[in-house]
């Protein structure tokens, strides 16, 4: 069956460092991978989408990669700040279809 997994439940880093979060998928090949931020009690906030024919995408301090050989996406936050502390969700999609979410990684950035 299709599975999408985020390797770490929690990640703690020091302010100013780069946070790297991992998303792996098995038994399928999604057309898109999306990354969202979710704060407690709130809805997922869209951050970045990367297509299967794209290797890398950037937006300000955020970077996402998509490696179809490794079946993996990496999400980087450079120069991290305490305000970046949240749960980050990876979600796969085919076209306009449903998003399939991972469990999320809770990032804590310490001052």
């Amino acid at each position: 069956s299709q599975k999408i997994e985020q390797n770490s439940e929690a990640l703690n880093i020091q302010e100013g460092k780069t946070a790297t979060l991992t998303c792996n998928y098995t038994n399928y090949s999604p057309a898109y991978l999306q990354w969202y931020r979710q704060d407690p009690g709130r809805g997922p906030v869209f951050l970045l989408l990367i297509r299967e024919n794209e290797k890398e995408k950037r937006k300000e301090r955020l970077k996402v990669t998509f490696d179809t050989t490794l079946k993996q996406s990496l999400f980087h936050i450079t120069a991290s700040q305490p305000a970046d502390s949240a749960t980050y969700l990876c979600a796969s999609r085919f076209g306009a279809g449903k998003s399939t979410f991972g469990d999320g990684t809770t990032l804590t950035v310490k001052p």
């Binding site: 057309a31 898109y32 999306q34 969202y36 009690g41 709130r42 809805g43 997922p44 906030v45 869209f46 989408l49 297509r51 969700l89 979600a91 999609r93 076209g95 306009a96 279809g97 449903k98 998003s99 399939t100 979410f101 991972g102 469990d103 999320g104």
Partner: protein, 115 residues
């Protein structure tokens, strides 16, 4: 910036009662979705809707659930006879029509508590 809105933010109901959760998707979007998230668990897909009909639904979306787009702006999720296990955050999402490759934007959610 356009956003998906949902009402109410919190709904408390008795088991067996019907609830309707409301969403206003982003105005030029054509694809609509409902997801739910039980406390401490992952976001789960319920149903997708396009061109006034359901395009896909999950195993969770049984006969107790229904969706409707009653007018040009609202998108609703109805649960006919709520159960305790329906307690969750319910999120509406929408995306645009760019070959289906547009991002899915989520609303802030409705917290449903079934007593």
């Amino acid at each position: 910036e356009p956003e998906v809105t949902q009402t109410p933010s919190h709904q408390v109901t008795q088991m067996g009662q019907e609830v309707i959760l409301r969403c206003v998707p982003i105005s030029n979007h054509l694809y609509f979705y409902w997801y739910r998230q039980i406390l401490g668990q992952k976001v789960e897909f319920l149903v997708s809707f396009y061109n006034n009909e359901i395009s896909e639904k999950s195993e969770i979306f049984d006969d107790q659930f229904s969706v409707e787009r009653p007018d040009g702006s609202n998108f609703t999720l109805k649960i006919r006879s709520t159960k305790l296990e329906d307690s969750a955050m319910y999120f509406c999402a929408s995306s645009d029509s760019q070959g289906g490759s547009g991002e899915q934007f989520f609303g802030p959610g409705t917290r449903l508590t079934v007593l």
